[in-house]
Symmetry: C2
Subunit: 419 residues, 2 copies
């Protein structure tokens, strides 16, 4: 019997290393031809399966596939599209199985966050119930670092490094000019509900009084009076104050400080613009000259300053997913297990998808200082190894030499399906 084919897709917000996971999946699958037949990637994630838009990996060059390791974003396209519950829209799940059946696909590798692991789990269930059992393995990915069980999520270490490096550099700038210019600088970073990314900014402070001086977490409602006092004290003591603010920061009323009112396909608010809100608050109440920056997509696309640890783990998760699948494991996701902090050592573990789905890991309260404006030593110990090492992409003409895929689709076999 010919081996079953494999399907790989990227889901949700992309990262600077999700393609490194793709590289791990594809290179490992290509080297497992006794177990895996053809390999397809979904064009624009799970939509590629629903629409029967399957990218033929055999038409991509080995060089391009190797180049995925140093290329940010989702090379095959990703999507913000959450499948409804099985009871609400069984037709979608059945369509997936039909497409997989039509193309003799027996392996489903889904690279994403909590929502995506939920989808992978449901596909494994519905395949079973439809008499077309699939091997479904998740590949963890999220800059938010909010997946449970895994010590960290591929994608997080690199955004953490970007934020720590950026606030360190900006703080050098502010410090050198604070006598006659900007006294307060606010850097807004991502993180809707979990403050991991904001926390990573604290790594830039290697000595007491180093910037950043204040971290604003989504887990801690902003105590405006305490915050303003801390800013004022900091400017008086150091001449300047650098702040890292999470986009998900809430006021004492529990509302996001800045909510553009737009919601994405998952019903999440589209945030952005908390930095100017904080900066104006400082200006109005304390009168200090301010500047602010919003990193937005730059932070999660910044492959040029990726963490070598993160790249290595992202690749390893992709590789492990395929190894799990061909060894007969099903409905699982590989995870990073920390063995020791110093020296940093880790190994690959696994967790059932049923346990991962839709669980969000927030910052433990003991990772945030008592006053709510900084991280603890425990948190630093956790974060430090995740930004370690540099893994520079190759450059051409002064720019990173990132790869693009051909994305050649195979012929459709089924009628079209409305999504």
């Amino acid at each position: 019997m010919a081996p079953k084919n494999a399907f790989y897709a990227q889901s949700g917000g992309v990262t600077s290393v999700i393609n490194a996971s793709a590289c791990g999946v594809l290179q490992t699958a290509l080297n497992s031809q006794e177990k895996i037949g053809k390999i397809y990637a979904g064009k624009n994630g799970i939509l590629g399966a629903l629409r029967e838009e399957l990218i033929d990996i055999s038409t991509e060059t080995p060089e391009a596939i190797a180049g995925l390791r140093h290329t940010p974003s989702g090379a095959f396209g990703s999507c913000r599209y959450k499948l409804k519950g099985i009871d609400e829209n069984r037709a979608e799940y059945e369509r997936l199985i039909e497409v997989f059946k039509a193309h003799d696909i027996g392996y489903f590798f889904y690279n994403g966050g909590g929502d995506s692991q939920d989808t992978a789990y449901k596909v494994s269930q519905i395949g079973e119930s439809m008499g077309y059992p699939m091997t479904c393995v998740g590949v963890p990915k999220t800059i938010d670092n909010d997946l449970p069980f895994t010590d960290c999520c591929p994608g997080f270490g690199s955004v953490a490094k970007y934020v720590a490096v950026s606030i360190k550099e900006a703080a050098f700038d502010v410090e050198s000019m604070c006598d006659t210019s900007t006294k307060v600088f606010v850097l807004e970073v991502m993180g809707r509900h979990a403050g991991w990314i904001a926390a990573a900014g604290a790594l830039a402070a290697e000595n007491e009084n180093d910037a950043p001086h204040i971290i604003l977490f989504p887990e801690i409602k902003l105590d405006k009076a305490a915050f303003l006092k801390k800013v004022d004290d900091c400017v008086k003591a150091n001449g300047y104050c650098c702040i890292v603010a999470s986009e998900g920061l809430q006021g004492e009323d529990g509302k996001f400080l800045s909510d553009a009112g737009v919601r994405d396909a998952f019903g999440h608010a589209q945030l952005g613009g908390v930095a100017p809100v904080i900066a104006n608050m400082v200006k109005d109440e304390l009168g200090y000259k301010y500047h602010w920056a919003v990193s937005d997509y730059l932070q999660r696309a910044a492959r040029h300053i990726a963490s070598a640890t993160d790249v290595e783990q992202a690749y390893a998760m992709g590789k492990a997913a395929v190894e799990f699948a061909i060894s007969g494991k099903n409905a699982v996701m590989p995870i990073v297990e920390r063995i020791s902090d110093e020296p940093y050592q880790w190994q690959i573990g696994s967790v059932p998808l049923a346990d991962v789905a839709n669980v969000e890991k927030k910052m433990p309260r003991d990772y945030i200082s008592a006053d709510g404006f900084n991280v603890t030593a425990e948190c630093r110990k956790y974060l430090q190894p995740l930004i370690a090492g540099e893994d520079y992409p190759p450059y051409k003409n002064g720019l990173p030499d990132y790869v693009k895929m051909q994305k050649k689709l195979i012929d459709k076999k089924l009628p079209s399906f409305e999504v």
Copy 2:
């Protein structure tokens, strides 16, 4: 007769390579002890001279001074402080000469932009008229690339590289998700009156239809209808549209699209926040989902992604300034002279300070495309070599290992002076 002492100061907005110029000045001066005695740096720029706060370079280690080459910002402190005209405040100029005289300073090296070169020129004049002739040499610096005569300004190449790399990376992100998510992305960059930095974003577009698709220059008043049509056409053709917008962008009425109302010591408006204005315009008129980023200080502090060409030229300008001074040149500034585009070759020239002062070099109109939304081939040819090469700083614990100076002040000899 003992050789005269030297004074070096940094002025205005700092860059990721102004310390590389400092490194060039200090290492060259330290190696010229037959001509130059002690070396002092102004604490917080020219204010250090007015306040008689002189940093003793002999107490800094050779390792720290070497480390300036890879450290962003102004290591001795910079300032936004413009000396008034000689007729308006002769006392300030006389104070400078008094301080220089008290500390036997015969060399004045001033590292800054157009305003600073004006100051250096005035100091050379007033010294002459007060019977204390000084050798005054400017060291060019400005991310805005708006100094005349020099082919480019140290500091610009690195911010150009940062912007080109950042928009390239963010565009990969947007492209991979545009089917179901963000369709329009706006990156706001610095540049009050000259669009050089925004233009540099265009280098990310190596092939037709590559992002960025639209550049908004401060030199071209925004034609809203033409802009919106271009965005819409771009989204329809490519699925997404990436825009680089200069903070100095003006509407058809000639007003800045976003003016916070704050003015700095030079009377310039403190800008910021044009990206959300543009993004909201797109949302309101076309309904596309958007994201925006504001790089602010991150772009001019990003030593981690500095252009090797820029670092080399910044160092060379500092070195040349000292060599000019000890060879008897006065009231001049070293400049970069381009010999050829391909291969890129350059040499050091010089220009009288009297000619540099207060002249702003804008983008030539033939560097901007006819429709005003992109650069021309001529412009790309000019910009390309300036971002070439990487010059990574050393790293420790996952972060760039930047240096800080001791900044030990020498004893004052004069009564204090109110600035």
